[in-house]
Subunit: 354 residues, 2 copies
DNA sequence: CCCGGATTTGACAACGTTGTCCAGAGGCTA
DNA sequence: TAGCCTCTGGACAACGTTGTCAAATCCGGG
């Protein structure tokens, strides 16, 4: 036995398929009584094969249950027709539609999608990205967890098309598709101010994350535009697990001068905030970043700054394939607008996003 | 030029990396002044290399930006360390956690996950599955759209470990992990009957889909157990897009003898039903199959039959890897229980699932 | 009936890696 | 110092496919 990783018995010259030892073009060729290359031609629908020969080959393929081994094909051709998507957590309702949109664009280009969750851990992000590069994916869509992506430089200059989404790349110059976090946050807080709120709290993601900082900036800008003071105690950045958010919200909502409104920095924070406020007697107002299902059916409805996750994914994937098709332009940054969907009580209820 | 698919210029004997023409172990070996196999040994941390030699190789690897080509490795070793997951729609909140759970188990086994959405189209399911087989994934987790999977027979007997989830395979004998749709549905409807309802409507997925039939069966069983008559007009199976569900619900809720309660066959139906009922003056009761975020904060809270999507995925992936590790047992079918979470007004509100 | 050109076919190398196996260097014992 | 053993390193084939190129075959026209 020459290779213990393969089937139970070594090849013995017959063409019968064996468990774990799939038939190859060579087997098909032998069975059809033709040359190896002729099988390849039939499999790839290349011209120059007589109908009679083709029939014989097709019969052999069916009889043996042959299926082309794409690993070998990929090795030979140099393109894998697959792209990688690294995001934070596939289970998060924000990333599902994004992922699906990327997949749809990939499909239009005949590519498969390899998916990985970084769990917001920079080391795991890097590990995943490099594993994908070793697989020689043609391109990468990355929602970064870390803030230093110099490790990607050799890959990119070796031709791996790369687009960052939701957050820009750190310390390298690279394509990116972002939402207007700053503008969206400013709109959200301005909305609260317009409704008479003066003491407004912001609960956001960890300060390591770009969008968290941008949204905090938008919050500050809106308060500043309205000449309102900002108390340090009104701003809380950190993990988005329910316990942390709950604690932060309760602190802001208690004390001698509690906030009268909360601005939640992303969908997970918003959901926890909804729960906290539902349990409070004198309900504070709430605006959340990211829309979510049934937000309009809660009472009161939750006003949100909506970003179109699917559009983010679609745009990124489209940029990626354009780059793969050869355009060697400078890296671009695309910023998509957000949309304030007002659902405060007494206001009209617009249709749910999408 | 021997191969136009590769870089802009043919290899010329130097070892410098070139755009689209990555360095190989051969290049590293030349630069480090060692043999090819020695580089392989260093890359794979195999024993039998002196520290000095190893250092020289490592330097060459770094200098050239070498990264092992896993396509070649896969071809040689016969295992891809990747599994495929074919589901209906990654954007559906039911599949996100499931997918994540599969990924997590795969990760524990050092495997990557290739993801594809069938869009509930049997042809697309087959196309995806076969594309994954051509990539020689080690295993497949399939949420089937079609009902005839004989096309998978050659693949399975060639060693592709396959587990079906949520719905059983059609016309082949194969591992499957299911939720107790029948029992869950019966519990749901029994719950409504216990609360005094006599005319109960069921809106479910297309009759082609196994779970839809099972849940309809559970509905019938519960009605039958209570000796209640069932009107044909109370049962509607079909696509789960909002317009169809809306029409079905409105028909059931109108007329001389409207239903007083609805049982929704899955999460998408439930969401639409919530909207319909919210717009109705005399609110009918609602129980839904599948739990959803914030179901408890709607008023009234929505009682659901919860299935643990993550647990489905985890179980399936675990079975898959066990099979890969060699156990050649008979195909097994695992049925996971569902859990009725009662949230009707006036009742206690248990914590949200998970 | 034979020649020229077009068409069909197959032998062979290459893609980049890993498994096998052998050669050479170095150390130890007798 | 011969003989043996261990350790390190490298040559080579193989994985299954596709691109190149040349050989074989066929056809019609002169």
């Amino acid at each position: 036995m020459t290779d213990p990783a393969r089937g139970t018995t070594q090849r013995n010259g017959t063409t019968s398929p064996r468990y774990g030892n799939r038939p190859t073009m060579k087997d098909v060729a032998a069975r059809a009584g033709v040359g190896l290359k002729t099988v390849s031609r039939v499999v790839n629908s290349e011209p120059g094969v007589t109908p009679d020969t083709e029939r014989r080959v097709q019969e052999a393929i069916t009889a043996l249950g042959f299926r082309r081994n794409d690993s070998a094909r990929i090795l030979r051709k140099g393109r894998t027709a697959s792209i990688g998507l690294v995001l934070e957590d596939l289970a998060d309702p924000f990333y599902g539609p994004l992922s699906r949109a990327v997949e749809e664009v990939a499909r239009d280009h005949g590519a498969l999608l390899i998916n990985g969750s970084s769990a917001e851990d920079p080391a795991r992000e890097q590990e995943l990205v490099l594993a994908l590069c070793a697989r020689r994916v043609d391109g990468l869509v990355v929602i970064p967890a870390g803030d230093d992506h110099r490790y990607l430089e050799p890959e990119i200059s070796a031709g791996v098309a790369t687009v960052f989404v939701d957050r820009p790349a750190g310390r390298i110059d690279c394509d990116a598709v972002l939402s207007d976090s700053f503008g969206g946050a400013r709109d959200a807080v301005a909305h609260l101010i317009a409704h008479g709120h003066r003491r407004i709290g912001f609960i956001g993601d960890q300060p390591r994350i770009h969008t968290a900082i941008e949204r905090l900036g938008g919050y500050r800008a809106a308060m500043n535009d309205a000449a309102l003071p900002v108390d340090e105690a009104w701003m809380s950045l950190g993990a988005t697990d329910p316990s942390r958010v709950l604690a932060a919200a309760e602190t802001m909502l208690s004390g001698p001068e509690p906030v009268t409104a909360l601005f939640a920095g992303n969908n997970r924070v918003t959901v926890t905030a909804v729960r906290v406020l539902a349990a409070q007697p004198g309900r504070a107002a709430l605006v959340g970043f990211d829309d979510f299902e049934l937000a309009d059916l809660l009472s009161p409805g939750v006003t949100v700054v909506a970003q179109d996750a699917a559009q983010l994914g679609r745009t990124a994937a489209t940029m990626l394939f354009r780059r793969l098709e050869g355009a060697g332009e400078e890296p671009r940054q695309v910023v998509l607008p957000t949309r304030l969907i007002s659902r405060g009580s007494g206001e009209i209820r617009p249709a749910h996003w999408s």
